[in-house]
């Protein structure tokens, strides 16, 4: 079985697994305790914070550890909204966003906030001018993802950041960096982003941990209270093993980024060309997208049917993003790009990682051809 779902969860590095195991055995003390064992645990977290800060080119006190990117996104959006409601009650985001951003914004709308969901252009890329045009004097926050988790398009964050600050300097900019880190360069200063979410398990780190960068000068209203952990921003006993292992994954993925990209781009391009050559399939990803995601539709065929057929042929793939793949509804992202319901129902996402080789891609291509041929025959028979 070949695994093609790195964008949903990448297998952890061996070193990450070892770190988790050793720290769980040795450093079970509560980092908030005053005894020596507690202090040692706390020191591990301090060091992890420094390692993450170095990888992201920010200050250690700007790193906040959470339980995952979903929490990071929730805290960034609701935390900023509640903290700065004196500035206004308007948020701008896009129709492309991950559910953890999208639903947080919808929830705020139920509480009386106004939310502008900017649609991408047909390319799946948001026009910075559209974002800037949506910003008002009472806009508290703009949230835009770096790389779309379904189709892999890359958003022009630098231009978006410039546009935001040109219209309203006080509007905060949150970037959901979950699918971008480790594949594309992370430049918070250049983007003028105050908030940045990261998910270690997408970059071969542990599950159940997350990172939120909160740039100095930005305050958040805590969503979890009950202790002064993480500077009062998030109560809860720290997951020491997870935090240290996350720092390790962040560092390793950052260091290996360029090498990984060099490896993935030819593989992805080969896949793109193969799919483009199959008349039944419609490509949704682009060559200028992230190097690890290839997304296509089989209009008229439910994505999950094709996914099951491919699994039978030894290929684990995903229908769009894992977080929404159990829904039978058409993909919101594809619809927002102007694709019809047929295409939006038939999406398949292939996401690559560093284990994949040219030979693996060749096998995947064969499987894809075979799957499409057999489904087409059945489809013909059904008609």
């Amino acid at each position: 079985m070949l695994y093609w779902d790195y964008a949903a969860a990448a297998p952890p590095y061996d070193e990450v697994v070892q770190t988790v195991e050793q720290i769980m055995r040795l450093h079970y003390a509560n980092p908030s305790s005053l005894h020596r064992a507690g202090m040692e645990a706390e020191r591990l977290i301090t060091r992890a914070r420094e390692v993450c800060a170095a990888a992201l080119a920010v200050q250690p006190h700007e790193i906040l550890f959470t339980s995952g990117a979903t929490e990071s996104n929730n805290l960034a959006i609701k935390g900023a909204a509640l903290q700065y409601q004196g500035r206004g009650r308007h948020i701008v985001t896009t129709q492309l966003e991950h559910p953890s951003v999208y639903e947080s914004c919808r929830q705020l709308r139920e509480l009386g906030w106004e939310v502008t969901f900017v649609a991408p252009r047909g390319t799946g890329i948001v026009d910075p001018a559209d974002i800037a045009a949506a910003i008002r004097p009472d806009t508290v926050l703009v949230s835009v993802m770096h790389v779309n988790n379904e189709i892999g398009t890359v958003q022009p964050l630098r231009e978006i950041g410039q546009g935001i600050k040109a219209v309203n300097r006080r509007t905060l900019f949150h970037v959901d960096g979950v699918q971008g880190y480790g594949k594309l360069e992370t430049r918070l200063k250049e983007w003028q982003a105050e908030l940045y979410s990261l998910s270690p398990h997408k970059i071969r780190g542990p599950r159940g941990t997350g990172i939120l960068v909160v740039r100095e000068g930005t305050a958040l209203f805590p969503l979890l209270t009950g202790g002064s952990h993480e500077n009062g921003n998030r109560a809860g006993t720290e997951n020491v093993a997870g935090i240290v292992a996350s720092a390790k994954a962040v560092r390793m993925s950052g260091e290996r980024r360029e090498e990984l990209v060099r490896q993935l781009i030819p593989l992805r391009n080969r896949l793109l060309h193969c799919i483009a050559a199959m008349p039944e399939l419609v490509l949704n990803s682009r060559e200028d997208g992230a190097p690890h995601i290839v997304h296509f539709s089989y209009p008229g065929m439910k994505g999950e049917v094709l996914a099951r057929k491919l699994e039978e042929l030894g290929m684990t793939v995903s229908t769009r993003s894992a977080c929404s793949s159990r829904l039978a509804e058409p993909s919101r992202v594809l619809l927002s790009m102007g694709r019809d319901v047929q295409a939006a129902l038939g999406g398949i996402r292939i996401s690559l990682g560093d284990i994949h080789t040219e030979a693996d891609v060749a096998l995947l291509e064969q499987a894809l051809l075979a799957a499409v041929q057999s489904l087409k025959k059945a489809e013909g028979g059904m008609k």
């Binding site: 050793q22 005053l34 020596r36 202090m39 040692e40 020191r43 060091r47 720092a247």
Partner: protein
């Protein structure tokens, strides 16, 4: 490029080049995180060639170098009239002063081979500049913007901003002193102030384990680390003070405990100073702040040491000290709420007016008092603190215990 000017020590005679070299060494240390920077020294100043490194960040770092009076971001042109004018134009365009800004050009012709005189140049440069920036108003007495042009052989420097540096004397050029470092707000500021006057500082901290926690000691290590950013390396002496301190609690003179304690600290610090070759003690005392800092307390306490007792903050208001500690970078650490030895065993009403004779007599009759002081000196542990290390006092937490770098 950045131009760094030296401070008051340039008035000194013979030692001047030693001072300048010390500043240069300190600057070199501070620019180490910016590998593309190159340095050159000239009489009375240092030039920092940026080569693409961020000017603002570097200026922020370098203004903390002791001995530097001011910093100016400068543009360099050839010493040629047309080039000077075009770089000045460019400079003005980047600075983009708003309309209505009062303005003046101030040319200094250091290189007398240049064909035009200073006064003549003022006019020659300002006329075309004013023509292309009609919003500027001329004011030669107190302009809001003064474009300074310094013509030297080879290069001309064009600048207008003057960022104030911390000034003072270069690191360690005025000898060595022992700083009594508690965990509070004042003593780190006193340390910084003495370092600014060119003193090399070693820190002495008194701890009373188990009455004070390991965290309190770590806090002092961290405070010393902040100071070490200004000094490169600082030695910290950790004195076990529990026995000395508890010996005062049984004598029935509660209101004198603080006086006795402070005297004991000075006695121990004096012995450490003698051992380390330091010629003064520095404290963070500020007149009237607490009972032990009334004039009469300071008199009784200060009598125990033959060394000069330096109190850089003695005449400062608390609010000024707090401001300074924020600038120095010790404030956030200082306010961490850990008990230190100075807040332990504090009597309800400490005396503000101790009697020297009574205090002397109590000390003379305390059983085994000098042996206790000897033991404290002997038990003192010394840690060398660097800006980026993570030292821990060894007997509390073994250095590096539990943290394996390969985990990260």
């Amino acid at each position: 490029m950045l131009l760094l000017r030296f401070g008051e020590f340039t008035l000194k005679g013979k030692n001047r080049s030693r001072f300048e070299k010390t500043v240069l060494r300190h600057v070199k240390e501070m620019v180490r995180p910016f590998p593309k920077v190159s340095l050159s020294k000239e009489f009375g100043r240092i030039y920092v060639q940026l080569n693409g490194e961020p000017a603002e960040e570097l200026a922020g770092v370098l203004r903390n170098v002791f001995g530097i009076a001011s910093i100016s971001p400068v543009k360099v042109s050839l010493s040629d009239f047309d080039d000077i004018l075009s770089v000045s134009r460019n400079f003005l365009r980047i600075a983009a002063p708003p309309a209505g800004t009062t303005f003046k050009v101030n040319v200094r012709r250091v290189w007398k081979g240049f064909p035009y005189g200073s006064i003549e140049m003022n006019k020659l440069i300002s006329t075309p500049l004013l023509q292309s920036y009609p919003g500027l108003l001329v004011d030669v007495k107190s302009p809001q913007m003064e474009l300074k042009i310094e013509i030297r052989e080879g290069h001309t420097y064009i600048f207008c901003e003057n960022i104030a540096g911390v000034g003072g004397f270069p690191l360690g050029t005025n000898g060595k002193a022992m700083l009594l470092l508690s965990g509070g707000i004042d003593s780190p500021v006193a340390g910084w102030s003495s370092m600014r006057r060119g003193l090399e500082v070693e820190c002495v901290h008194f701890y009373s384990f188990p009455y004070t926690s390991e965290l309190a000691r770590q806090k002092v290590v961290d405070l010393t680390r902040v100071l070490s950013r200004y000094a490169g390396v600082i030695r910290l002496h950790l004195v076990p003070f529990t026995e000395v301190q508890t010996s005062f609690t049984g004598i029935g003179q509660d209101n004198l405990i603080i006086t006795l304690m402070r005297r004991a600290m000075l006695k121990i610090a004096t012995r450490l100073a003698e051992r380390e070759g330091a010629l003064a003690l520095v404290t963070g005392e500020s007149l009237g702040q607490v009972a032990s800092q009334t004039l009469s307390s300071m008199n009784v306490i200060g009598r125990v040491t033959p060394l000069p007792l330096l109190r850089p903050l003695v005449m400062m208001d608390k609010s000024e000290i707090v401001e300074l500690s924020k600038t120095v970078g010790t404030y956030d650490l200082s306010i961490l709420p850990y008990e230190d030895c100075c807040t332990l065993f504090v009597p309800k009403s400490p005396t503000t007016n101790p009697n020297l004779r009574i205090v002397d007599k109590i000390e003379a009759t305390l059983p085994g008092y000098s042996a206790l002081l000897d033991a404290a000196v002997a038990g003192t542990e010394t840690v060398t603190i660097t800006p980026y290390g993570d030292e821990k006092p060894s007997d509390v937490v073994p250095a590096q215990a539990g943290l394996q770098e390969e985990w990260f």
